[in-house]
Symmetry: C2
Subunit: 453 residues, 2 copies
Amino acid sequence: MTPADDPAGTGARPRVVIVGGGFAGVACARELAGTDVDVTLIDRNNYHQFQPLLYQVATAQLAPIDVGTPLRNLFRKDRNVDVKQAEVTEVDVAGRTVRTADGLSWTGDHLVLATGAQPNFYRTPGAAEHSLPLYSLIDAERLRSRIIAAFDAADRDPRLVDQGALTFVVVGGGATGVEIAGALADFVTTVVPQEYHDLDVHQARIHLVDHGTALLAPFSPEAHEYAAKVLQRDGVRLHLGTAVEEVTPAAVRLEGGTTLPTRCVIWAGGVQAADVAARCGLPRGRGGRLRVGHDLSVEGHPRVFVLGDVAAVESPDGTPYPQLGSVALQQGQWAGKTIRADLAGQPRRAFHYHDKGIMAMIGRGAAVAEMGHKRHELHGAIAFASWLGVHAWLMSGVRGRIDAFVSWGWDYFSGNRTPGLVDHPSAATIDFGEPGQVPPPRTPAPAPVAPAG
Amino acid sequence: MTPADDPAGTGARPRVVIVGGGFAGVACARELAGTDVDVTLIDRNNYHQFQPLLYQVATAQLAPIDVGTPLRNLFRKDRNVDVKQAEVTEVDVAGRTVRTADGLSWTGDHLVLATGAQPNFYRTPGAAEHSLPLYSLIDAERLRSRIIAAFDAADRDPRLVDQGALTFVVVGGGATGVEIAGALADFVTTVVPQEYHDLDVHQARIHLVDHGTALLAPFSPEAHEYAAKVLQRDGVRLHLGTAVEEVTPAAVRLEGGTTLPTRCVIWAGGVQAADVAARCGLPRGRGGRLRVGHDLSVEGHPRVFVLGDVAAVESPDGTPYPQLGSVALQQGQWAGKTIRADLAGQPRRAFHYHDKGIMAMIGRGAAVAEMGHKRHELHGAIAFASWLGVHAWLMSGVRGRIDAFVSWGWDYFSGNRTPGLVDHPSAATIDFGEPGQVPPPRTPAPAPVAPAG
């Protein structure tokens, strides 16, 4: 420790306070684990959520525990990393101090803000109230309960199909929207016919709406086409170049007058920086993200870092880095290394992102991956294997070991587990109105009443 | 099919309506799978919950998916078994018809009621509002969120310990109460010191209260002593022969004037028949259970069976059968066989329970098992192995195959999974009052504020 790190001469070990247990925060804490600093890692949840696979939880392909890992467990053996579950509501940048609503505070010699993002409803009327976002693990669990409850309702009472019980509307054509739409299409074609013996699966409808004209906008034009082709082949109806005007409890109203009756609107329409970013008093960029320099620190506050989805970082050529798990992971590792360099009295370097490319899964049997100018359209087992590999790499960055992922991949392949539990009752409650309001079926519905013997 | 089964001469296949997807209902449906009847299996949830292991979910040793299996998945390959998720609110015994609040109904040639039980709060003031029962999978998930949230709160702010943040009160000394108290003691001694680096684990308190004077009442006096000895060795404070007078949001008041400040009261104080039993118009016995004859049918309604926890069945020597998963499982199998015998024109026989004995786990390292007059006090690996074997047998009765259990046992042994997610936010919300109301700590608390560098 240099005198600069201990101006009071207390001999205390330097402390790093990290807010946020996502890719960036965990990677930073892991970089500092076992070193001569005390790390306090604060998150509102007690777990890390592996966001790239949330859509798999929502469609009952993975269980919550497969994509949520308790933070304390991740740092169980690292005595210098202390995890605190707390909701930070206030950030004093100059004092490198964060506070909670109930009066607790933590101050660091270095402060790392990696608080992530939250859904952006773009002031669409009804969207915040009546749609289900897909950004957190609890979002995914609630969405899974809603999706299965909708199928259960239609299976119980076929008249509810006309009220939108089997219509699913995905808002947003980015990676999350494409992945959840593809996974839902898989669910409808593979799981539903096997498990819902009475349901006419052909009545299910999946719509994807985006105000832009391309799916997977950050990818190449060829990838846009490929994603559209695969989704349409799988039965997804695309509404591109179309804005959502309103979400109601029973429908989505689109620009141009179309109204889609539905009981399940999945909001994958974009994100903005987490609320706490607005209360830092720092300059903000697009999506409310905090502007930081090339070393990821805040101008005038070199010991305050901002990382991941809450940061607006420009690459050396001036373009902003994309909001990806791999960017956040590398920023976390980089910030951890920078803090170690600071404490060793070494100079800082600018952050460089080692671009591993981008990938999106379009249903289980197709994927698109782009590395620089190379594009790969992947099919079948190759698509699935590549997808597994990419996520194995990301997950090992968080969990610090590969074995957990191998066991997870095995569970996934063996297909033995069926995590389709409706265990979030509030999300599973769909108000179809009083029985008297049920419109008469257009075709004679299969009667749930058996002839008495 | 005999003419008696098809009085209308429609040629329709006989239909069996089963209400309840617990041990009894699932075993009955499995017995009828692949036969010449149509089975409708109705449950308010879309999954079977493996009740004997709910306490493991509550203490984050198993994930919900390990003890909850979607019913549709269980009968995926049985085209004659149709699962309906619906809440039955009315039973017309004479018409063998069940109805839901939204006007749906199902009628069977045979009707099987296996609706299970629900917690019995015995009109204890505040118990229904402020305690957390442990009877359903959602109960267990909510309890897990509450338990971990309490440890997180005390770790975040040590002053909350005086407000009962680390005090857990189990009400009920039966198998569920003993098992959850033992599992909590394990959690405190093994998981907490590893994962909560800052917490003084010796401040945690586990109390078990029962108005009776013995733990594990259905077992022998020696077992009562053994359970008490093991729990006390593990730090559980016993209050036997003591009634709970009131549960408040912040405390439990016991008979005799003792008040235990606590934020987590676990209600394992007994069960009563599920609500729907009261609305059948049938004679009811102890705990509101429906009286049935030796063939498990209702007097005067030979094609209506009542099984499992909702049934009051006497053994041939006049003693009631205990409320155990293995009793329910055998009753379900027996009812399925009886229905097949009815349809084949064969006579009925009285139900006989093949007593496999009773077992309770007292923490991970000790168990007690009794078969007839033989008592086994089991320790360490033998206790755990026996416990695994008993539950393997029960689980295979539900899942119809042993492989799922083997994979589950492997996960459990390997200990790789850490399902300690706080993902039921409402249960995790503990109101400790305004910061200003926090009493000053009796001893200087470890300050969460680090010295500013």
